[in-house]
């Protein structure tokens, strides 16, 4: 199961790419594999704000619904609208084209609460 070194992770199987005060968020390779083929996504609207740990959306396989939890506090600046027509992109490329939202961080210091790749790899080991 791939866990790229340059990303941060949560115990809830989201990944985070930090670029200054912006974060791109998706679900991990492990998560997409556990969920199986995704067939539906519910995404927030740009401008919506979330606190860390708050539900910001859902991904659905045929058999299950899983909530997406905001890894960090902030405001949604962009959502990956391509996913609405092609949710399987998350399965095919979880760390690339399968990104889900971008957030403008309200408290960049929260990044210190995230897991690095080694720590996440031991969570899913």
């Amino acid at each position: 199961m791939s866990t790229p070194d340059e990303l941060y992770y949560t115990n809830d199987h989201e990944w985070v790419r930090i670029e200054s005060d912006s974060a791109t968020v998706g679900i991990t390779d492990f998560a997409q594999d556990q969920l199986g083929g995704l067939v539906f996504v519910n995404l927030p609207a740009p401008g919506e704000g979330f606190v860390a740990g708050e539900v910001f959306g859902e991904v659905e396989s045929v058999k299950s619904v899983s909530e997406l939890l905001a890894p960090l506090a902030g405001e949604v600046t962009e959502v990956n609208a391509e996913l609405e027509g092609a949710p399987e992109t998350i399965n095919n490329d979880p760390y690339g084209a399968g990104w889900i939202i971008k957030i403008k961080l309200s408290d960049p210091a929260q990044v210190g609460d995230l897991l690095d790749a080694d720590a996440y790899a031991s969570v899913i080991a």
């Binding site: 989201e14 199986g36 083929g37 067939v39 396989s61 045929v62 939890l69």
Partner: protein, 370 residues
């Protein structure tokens, strides 16, 4: 991300193919008291394999009963809704219902006339109830036996299913007509009963073998490159797309055939079976609620979600069966709804975890094979 995992419990039964499923890396989960494969390579791929080539399904959890002896037909005519006169020819089969004295559905079954005896296939979860109900009524001249433990059942379904089974059965064998059954010797070693029945909407067969022969049959089938193992997940999406009813979701002990949309297996010309008076009365005075088929373009309706007639503040019913349709790419479902106001074409809404999403009542089936 958070998700609930069902816990496996220690007292689950296993089919003779359990080891095969584990070796194939199947995700296993409890179903009807059995530890069953839910998916192997992935539900969507398995669904597509069934629709485009061949899927094989372990349905050995299903119950099998055998009835022989003088009066077996008369006994079943009394116990079951459909008319056994229609399967007097050896090898014929029919879908039927067993009702209680109130006309409620005990189980939905397939009865095969296997020549001098009847073979009945029952839902796994109802096996004990069915057997007890039949046993309470059976006359002394009829022998009733539960063959479930020594019988394995593998469904082979899809456009190329008949090719595969014909190759295994050899040139002497001729495929049975639709909804018929015959005998075969597969690979010249495995005695089997082969029924041209199924639960996917595809052409195909269901193969009965001795439990001890099941792993050999399973491996023979998988030796064909066009054959994929398919779990209960894609079995459910396949049957829901073509609107085959699932006991426990689309009908249960609180529903009658007329409510469940199964009046077609209760011929008007037949009377005298248990529950026939209730069926006849509901034909005269239709029930308040009936099973409807619902389609949602932008949501996945799931079991238990509340359904509202358009604009109504109070729910009119709940989702019985609900899923994403892999073939159609939309949400499909069934629900018991007030008969008036929910005719095909009627708009309605489903509560998707606090958000109402619109859909409509449609005529079954959702999907018809070309």
């Amino acid at each position: 991300m958070s998700t609930d995992e069902q816990q496996l419990t220690a007292d689950l039964k296993r089919t003779p193919l359990y080891e095969e499923h584990v070796a194939l890396g199947a995700k296993m989960a409890p179903f009807a008291g059995y530890e069953m494969p839910i998916e192997y390579a992935g539900l969507i791929a398995e669904h597509q394999a069934t629709r485009s080539t061949v899927g094989i399904f372990d349905v050995s959890h299903m119950g099998e009963f055998r009835l022989t002896g003088d009066g077996a037909k008369d006994f079943l005519q009394h116990m079951l809704t459909n008319n056994l006169d229609r399967i007097d020819e050896v090898g014929a089969a029919q879908y039927t219902l067993m009702l209680d004295d109130e006309g409620h559905i005990i189980d939905d079954l397939i009865v095969y006339n296997t020549g001098g005896e009847y073979l009945i296939v029952a839902n796994a979860a109802n096996r004990d109830t069915d057997f007890a109900w039949l046993g309470d009524h059976v006359p002394a001249t009829v022998a009733l036996s539960d063959e479930s433990e020594r019988t394995a059942l593998v469904a082979v379904q899809g456009p190329k299913a008949l090719q595969v089974i014909s190759e295994l059965a050899g040139p002497e064998w001729t495929a049975p007509e639709r909804f018929c059954i015959n005998e075969a010797l597969l690979q010249e070693t495995l005695p089997a009963l082969i029924a041209r029945t199924g639960y996917t909407g595809e052409d195909g067969v269901e193969v009965f073998v001795r439990s001890a022969d099941a792993p050999a049959l399973w491996r023979l089938l998988l030796s064909f490159p066009e054959v994929s193992p398919v779990g209960l997940g894609a079995r459910d999406t396949s049957r829901l797309e073509v609107c085959y009813s699932l006991y426990g979701s689309d009908m249960d002990r609180s529903r009658t055939p007329i409510e469940a949309g199964l009046g077609w297996v209760c011929p008007k010309t037949k009377s005298g079976y248990i529950g026939a008076d209730v069926v006849a009365a509901q034909r005269e005075n239709p029930p308040a609620e009936v099973l409807r088929h619902l389609r949602f373009e932008r949501a996945i309706p799931r079991h238990g979600y509340e359904v509202f007639l358009e604009g109504a503040p109070a729910p009119a019913g709940v989702i019985a069966s609900g899923s994403h349709s892999p073939t159609l790419g939309v949400g499909i479902a069934t629900a018991y709804l007030p008969r008036e106001g929910s005719k095909p074409g009627a708009p309605l809404e489903v509560d998707i975890r606090g958000r109402r999403v619109g859909g409509e009542v449609v005529k079954p089936p959702f999907y018809v094979k070309d």
